[in-house]
């Protein structure tokens, strides 16, 4: 029995005002519990696709729904309610640098906190306890009082994961979450994303450059090239000819010699 559909993208296109077609008629379906990797060269439209799903970017054409609810037409309070269920992790971490780690994690609860309280950073005790639990999950339980910009990149990304977790999301969008980290640190961050997927059943859509990471963490992958969906399959199905069709004939792959 296949799990229900988490995200349905139908014939999605995005044309930027300067005429660049970042997404061109993309359709895909993600089932609950999947860890979907999105591959593609720089500029192929990965970020645009992810940002359309939580409407940080408004698509030009097409339709997206998450958990059966329409995203593309949602406005105001409906849109905010949808976003609440979707955590997002960014390549540049995007923490509020001058806030403490704890306040950063608490900001994941903004969608369910009254405006006045949140403007004064007065979160209920229950949320504070939950934030602490989220921090402990990512191994940052003792850093709650540090300022966010005092942390290393890997630590900041873990805090960002805790912030997403604080949303109690059903879906996580991760836009190249480890691309600005040292290769040695990448697994320490990816493992936390994987844990949310495996242990909490949170659906993950994660854009990645790194094919080894894709093979290790994803349950399925799709690839974009110049805004078009050009490949789709299990990680192990991404063989040399497929990769060439994604990255071009000139590309070189580390495992090429071995295969």
């Amino acid at each position: 029995m296949t799990p229900p559909v988490a995200v349905a993208v139908e014939r999605l296109s995005k044309v930027w005002p300067d005429g660049i077609k970042a997404l061109d008629d993309v359709s895909l379906e993600v089932r609950e519990g999947e860890f979907l990797a999105v591959l593609g060269l720089s500029g192929s439209g990965k970020s645009t696709l992810l940002r359309c799903i939580n409407r940080l970017v408004d698509p030009t054409e097409g339709k997206i729904s998450i958990f059966g609810r329409d995203v593309t037409g949602a406005e105001g309070a409906d849109l905010r309610a949808l976003r609440r269920e979707v955590g997002m992790i960014f390549q540049q971490f995007n923490l509020v640098k001058r806030h403490t780690v704890r306040d950063n994690v608490l900001s994941g609860a903004l969608g369910r906190t009254g405006t006045l309280r949140s403007l004064l950073l007065l979160f209920p005790e229950a949320d504070r306890a939950e934030a602490q639990a989220c921090l402990e999950r990512v191994g940052m339980g003792d850093r709650g009082d540090s300022r966010a910009d005092a942390l290393s990149g890997g630590q900041q990304q873990r805090v960002a994961i805790a912030r997403a977790l604080m949303q109690r999301p059903k879906l996580i969008l991760a836009d190249e979450p480890v691309a600005s980290l040292d290769p040695a640190l990448r697994n320490s961050v990816m493992r936390h994303v994987e844990a949310l997927n495996r242990e909490e059943g949170i659906t993950v859509i994660c854009s990645l450059h790194d094919l080894d990471l894709m093979k290790r963490y994803a349950t399925r992958a799709v690839a974009l090239r110049e805004g078009k969906l050009v490949a789709e399959g299990k990680p192990e199905e991404f063989d040399l000819p497929t990769l060439r069709s994604i990255y071009g004939e000139e590309a070189e792959f580390g495992f090429e010699a071995a295969s």
Partner: protein, 357 residues
């Protein structure tokens, strides 16, 4: 990336080029006439005429028309003799086969001559008189002697009014902070892109603030003196209006330069507009806001002395009558007090701003 040839200049740019050229050429001809009149017939009718008299005699209509005709001719013949300065200004230069050095173009020579002519015309119009400047010094020495021998008579009163000046500047700044803070979000382009209503508010607010800032605080002081009467409160209001306008500009420019990332991240949590501003924008702009505010207080201290001259309270208020009466010793004391206060403010504000950023 795809790169197309630049589009040919539209009618708007061509019209702008023509208007600029007509203005430049007419000004050029008028400056020429002024020089000829001043240098070739200086002694006509017995006296050397003043600049104003000459300016009143120039043939504005004729030379204005001539400028327009020349501009039309040059714009028409731009293909032959090279682009016009107006075309360069409007970004509507014709395609030239090769980039030529400026001294090989008509435009370059015209610009050079124009600048030189402006200098000589300026000399005449502002009635520069080096002879008097170098020979008539002793008339000013009384003033300087007074300034260098400050009298103690106004020291106490001066100090008290100096304190009033500092408070005046402080209150003007304090009143302007909350208003400028709120308005600056609506005057920041990056926050007002999403809806048409927001864009309208942005444009209206920017225009209003630019107009407000264009009016000198001295003029605002006159307005408020007739409104609330002579005294420091009028000065506070005058500086307040000007401070709001300039802080909105400075604040909104720092909002425009924030990192968008945290804003996106907060938006992605499902936060509302106010929450996005509070978490995604405000923490990033607090240091520049503080710095600009202190800078503004510093400027207000300087301005409040001038505002006192017209009745806006503070130390400038007692300075004016002493200047009129020629009591240079007392003027010296007051000027010294102002100089010290401005100097100290300058140091303190620079130091605090260094620490913040």
């Amino acid at each position: 990336m795809r790169r197309a040839a630049p589009p040919p200049p539209g009618p708007g740019a061509r019209l702008l080029a023509l208007v600029v050229d007509a203005a430049l050429l007419a000004t050029f001809l008028l400056m020429g006439e002024l020089l000829v009149r001043a240098l070739v017939f200086p002694m006509q009718e017995g006296t050397l005429r003043t600049a104003q008299e000459i300016l009143e005699k120039l043939h504005y209509a004729v030379l204005g028309g001539a400028g327009l005709l020349l501009a039309l001719a040059w714009n028409g013949a731009a293909g032959l003799v090279g682009g016009t300065p107006g075309q360069a200004f409007a970004g509507a230069l014709p395609q030239e086969p090769a980039e030529r050095p400026w001294d090989r173009t008509l435009r370059g020579w015209f610009t050079l001559l124009f600048v030189e002519l402006t200098f000589f015309t300026g000399w005449l119009v502002t009635e520069v008189d080096l002879g008097t400047f170098f020979t008539n010094f002793e008339k000013a020495s009384g003033v300087l002697r007074g300034l260098l021998h400050p009298s103690g008579a106004v020291l106490f009163e001066g100090l008290i009014l100096l304190a009033q000046t500092l408070f005046l500047a402080f209150m003007a700044t304090a009143f302007s902070i909350p208003i400028a803070f709120v308005l600056s979000f609506a005057a920041a382009r990056n926050l007002t892109r999403e809806s048409t209503a927001a864009k309208v508010v942005y444009t209206a607010l920017r225009t209003l603030m630019n107009l407000t800032r264009a009016v000198e605080p001295l003029v605002w002081a006159l307005v408020f003196i007739s409104w609330v009467g002579i005294g420091p409160f009028a000065g506070v209001l005058a500086l307040w209006v000007h401070s709001v306008a300039s802080l909105v500009k400075l604040y909104s420019e720092s909002i425009e330069s924030i990192d968008r990332g945290p804003m996106d991240a907060i938006k992605a949590t499902g936060a509302g507009t106010l929450q996005v501003l509070r978490y995604g924008v405000v923490p990033q702009v607090i240091p520049p806001f503080l710095s600009f505010t202190i800078y503004r207080w510093d400027i207000n201290v300087r301005m409040s002395t001038i505002i006192g001259f017209v009745g806006g309270g503070g130390i400038g208020y007692i300075l004016k009558p002493r200047v009129d009466l020629g009591e240079w010793g007392e003027v010296g004391t007051l000027v010294l007090l102002i100089a010290v206060a401005v100097w100290v403010m300058d140091l303190v504000s620079a130091r605090i701003r260094e620490r913040i950023v």
